[in-house]
Structures are given as C-alpha cells and as structure tokens.
C-alpha cells in the first residue's frame, strides 16, 4: 500500500474551502473554532491517509471530520456558557445530512462569500490581506510573515484585529445580498490586486514563492469573474493584468535569481498561453463603458507583451495609458512610470520634463526607484554629476543585493550609451 498523489496545494486549498464552507454554515463569528477544526481535520487526514490510504472522496472525508470536530467544539462552548438555545437549531440541525460531495458552484460561492467577508470595510486593509491569506489561501502565520516581509507578531496582530471584527458582525448571508454585495466589489478588487502585487513586485528571492501568491490571486479572481455579481468589466481588467504580468514573471530573473531589466529579458521565455488568456480578458473588459485603473494597467502590460522587442514597443501607447492611470489614480509613482515611457518615446529630456516640479512623497523619495530613474535620465541627458549623486542614493536605498546589482548594471549601461 502506498499513498496516492494529491494535487498541488491540496491541503492549502482544502483549508480555504473548508473554512469558507463552515463559516457559511455556522457563522463567521466562530472563525477561530472553525480554523482549529479544519487544522485538526487536516492533521487527522494526514495520519489516516498515510496508513489506510486515500478515501474515495478526500474532500467529503475532510468535510465530515472538520464538521464533526467543529460541532463538538461549539456544543462544548455552549455548554460552558450555558447558551445551548442559541445553537439548538443552528449547526446541530444539519449535522447529519447533506454530507455528500459539493458542487463546484457551491464551493465557489462559499469561497466568494469568505472573500467578501475578508474585505469588510471595518477591517484595516493590511488586516484584510492577512485574513485572506490565512483563511482563503491556507497559509499559516509564519508563511504569511515570510510573504509580506513582516514579523509573525505583526501577522498575529493583524489577524487578531480582523477576527475581532468578525466576532462582532452578524451572519454573512443577509449582508451579502444584492446591493451590499456589489458595493463591496471595489474593496474585493483592491485586495486581489494587492495579493497579486505582493507576489509580482516582491523582492523575495524565491520565484516559486512569488509565483504562488500570483497564482492564488488569479485563482480567486477567476472565481469572482465567473460569478453573477462579480462578473464585470473591472474584474475582467484585473484578471487581464494579472495574466499579462504573470506571463513575464519567469523572464524577470536570470538563472541565478538576479533581476533583469525589461530590455534584457528573453521574450521567448514569456508565456504565450498566459498572454493569450490575458488578452481575452482584456477584450472582455472592454464590454461596457467603464475604464478603471485596472484597464489602464492591463493596457500597459498588453503593450509590453505584444511588442516584438524593447525597441519596437509602442511607447506612445504606453504613455497614453499611464496618463489615464494618473488621472484615475493620482500617484507620483504613476507619474514616474510615465516619465520613463516618455523618455523612451521622445528622449530623456522629455522624460525629465514630465517630472518637473514634482515633489516626490517621502515613501517614493525614500525608495530606490525615484533616484534610479532620475540617475538614468540625467545620465542620458549628459548631466554626469547629478546622475552620479542620484545613483549613489539609489544604491544606498536598494532593498536587496539583486536590486543593487541591477542598478549597477543599468548605470554602467547608460555610461556606455552616452559615451
């Protein structure tokens, strides 16, 4: 007897499904008991399946065990608190029935509801993100800390805040009807976007770990895009941008984990399947008359994906999209990106002109990106001394050796270009 293969991320994804399904059944205010029951069920599964082999339907098996554990725990809690009446008709009533395999639609619905719960406006955004990673993606505190570059204590703090809010809130279903449901869509988009960028823009050395976050974001956004209420142009645009970025994720690093500039990347490594999927979602995102920041960002990504080479990029289109992005989501970072694109289109002086009079906010001035772009543009304009200063600052601010190396290479390259 040997153990059979389980699909990738089976335990993690089952964790998410079970927490979502049980939350819908007994109420998200019990989320801590639910998570304990699910963790316990997975441990039992690990022990049982490795000795007795896989059951016919692992998911149904897990649900049964988790459900029983949870009901036991809730009964004990009730007994302790003398509040038996509260649950006399609730979870116990359906404890025996309806344990068959679930339909994909039901599971998707459960996951979606949990996602909407995570995006409760009363929960601070950083706590929303931690909660989604914990409950929907099945990462534990240590893993979340490693992915968000925060301490475990900080993760605990964020989760505690979120759970506090969940304990206070009434049950889900009534809150997620119609209008309230769609009014929370923007925060849902924001969390999914954040989840994706945590992976895509992360300075984490391991591509696999970054890929994982991107895949989780795509998985959840795809469920949203298949839903009656979640299906809208904005969701399509978000999914388009995720696929179009994801297509280029691998090519952003060289063989030894060093970062590569866009112009250095081997475009043959870009995932054409992902690009096609991204373009299909981009087309779908145009059905309707809304244009959101996700549309603008997806448009930029599409331009890069469609260009045969760095030189052949339609920079005027990229500039146009960045301008729109700036209008919709004013940010100095978007201006900075536009300056880079303008420099490629109309020359470095034009690029610098875009930044004229812009006082960068401290978070941007303190990041290597601002100084690195200015160093590059000044260097290409022939202002060697100013460029040298900015380069030094950028170097000091580089968060990782990989970024530092990239900056060094970039600086040397522009020296050659002006020579």
């Amino acid at each position: 007897l040997t153990t059979s293969e389980l699909v990738d991320h089976f335990f993690r994804h089952e964790y998410g499904r079970l927490v979502a399904t049980l939350s819908r059944r007994v109420g998200v205010k019990h989320v801590e008991a639910i998570e304990d029951a699910v963790q316990g069920a997975l441990m039992t599964a690990l022990q049982s399946w490795t000795t007795a082999g896989l059951p016919d339907s692992p998911s149904a098996w897990l649900f049964r065990v988790a459900n029983n554990r949870l009901l036991d725990e809730l009964r004990q809690q009730n007994r302790r608190q003398g509040l038996l009446r509260e649950h006399s008709q609730g979870p116990e009533a359906d404890s025996d029935g309806d344990l068959g395999p679930f339909s994909e639609e039901e599971l998707a619905q459960d996951l979606l509801e949990m996602l909407f719960v995570c995006c409760d406006e009363a929960i601070p955004v950083e706590s929303q993100l931690a909660l989604a990673l914990k409950t929907l993606c099945g990462f534990d505190v240590r893993e979340i800390g490693a992915r968000l570059f925060i301490t475990e204590a900080n993760v605990y703090k964020r989760l505690t805040r979120a759970r506090q809010r969940l304990r206070e809130r009434p049950d889900l279903a009534e809150n997620l009807e119609g209008k309230r449901y769609s009014s929370r869509l923007p925060s849902v988009h924001k969390i999914l976007y954040l989840l994706f960028t945590e992976g895509y823009l992360s300075s984490h050395a391991e591509t696999a770990i970054r890929r994982e976050l991107c895949d989780e974001a795509i998985r959840l956004t795809s469920i949203l895009a298949a839903d009656r209420v979640g299906k809208n142009p904005e969701t399509s645009a978000l999914l388009a941008l995720m696929h179009l970025h994801s297509a280029r994720l691998l090519a952003r690093q060289d063989g030894s984990g060093g970062l590569l500039l866009l112009e250095e990347q081997d475009r043959a490594l870009w995932d054409q399947g992902e690009i096609q999927t991204g373009l299909q979602w981009l087309a779908r995102s145009a059905e309707g008359d809304v244009f959101t920041r996700y549309h603008a960002e997806a448009a930029v990504a599409a331009e890069h994906c469609l260009a045969a080479s760095f030189q052949e990029t339609r920079w005027e289109k990229v500039v146009q999209s960045y301008s729109l992005l700036e209008q919709m989501a004013p940010s100095a970072l978007h201006r900075l990106n536009r300056a880079v694109a303008v420099a490629e289109w109309q020359g470095p002086a034009a690029g610098l002109a875009v930044l004229d009079g812009l006082e960068p906010p401290t978070w941007l001035a303190g990041s290597y990106m601002w100084s690195a772009v200015l160093a590059d543009l000044h260097k290409r304009c022939g202002n060697a001394e100013i460029a040298g200063n900015y380069h030094r600052i950028a170097n000091e601010q580089a968060p990782t050796p990989a970024v530092k190396e990239l900056l060094e290479r970039r600086h040397k390259r522009s020296l050659v270009a002006t020579a």
């Binding site: 007897l1 040997t2 059979s4 993690r12 964790y15 997975l42 690990l46 399946w49 000795t51």
Partner: protein, 125 residues
C-alpha cells in the same frame, strides 16, 4: 563446521523477522502545528518512504486511542496509561534489528523533538 556456520549466518541474514515499532512521546519539544503546505510536504515524503520500504512495511498499524488495563486486582498501580506514552504502532519486517531501526528512523515525522520510536523484535512461533 565452518561451512555449517556460514550457512547459519546466511540463513540469519535472509529471513525476515517482524519488529514492533512503537511511537513514544518524549519530554520536551512541544511541536508546532504544521501548516497545510507543510502537511502536503509530509504527505509526499511519507509516500516516498512507503515506496522505498514497501517490502518492509508489513502492517502500517495506526494510532492508539482509549484503553483500559485489566489486572487480577492484586497490582501495585498506579500505572501510567499506555496511550500517554505510546502514540501509535506499526509492524515492519527486516533482516535484522538494525535494518528495522533504519526503516523506522527514515519514517517522516516519527523521530523528532518530542517523539521517538522503540523497535522491538517479535519472536515468531
């Protein structure tokens, strides 16, 4: 004489004996709960271990639950409950105690802080 002895040792190294492996909880090392991702990894490691030692794994046994000590009544108790000491058991076949130990030691998650395994030969009939 020498020939016979060689034959005897030949026999000794080729006949599989059965060994009882009992997982014992050890003091210290209150182990952290594994995350779902780690569980998946453990599951895979376990599969690889089972495949590698397929010939040795006679009975995967299981975890032990509630129990009761039955005595003639004239005992000096109190006895430590067995389930507090022994979490689970399995039976492996091996040519020697050393080989049985090797199989048990390679079992993922069995030997770690807070858990060890006792390997005991079962004398056949």
């Amino acid at each position: 004489m020498g020939y016979r002895r060689r034959q005897a040792s030949f026999k000794y190294t080729n006949v599989m004996s059965k060994y009882l492996c009992m997982q014992r909880s050890l003091p210290g090392g209150e182990n952290e709960k594994p995350s779902p991702a780690q569980m998946q990894e453990m599951y895979a490691q376990f599969g690889a271990w089972q495949e590698k030692f397929a010939d040795n794994l006679v009975d995967m046994g299981g975890r032990l639950g509630e129990g009761k000590l039955v005595t003639s009544g004239a005992s000096d108790g109190p006895f430590v409950e067995v389930k507090e000491l022994i979490g689970g058991y399995m039976i492996v076949a091996a040519k020697s105690l050393d080989e049985a130990v090797e199989v048990a030691q390679a079992c993922p998650g069995l030997v770690r802080p807070g858990s060890g395994v006792e390997v005991i030969e079962i004398h056949g009939p």
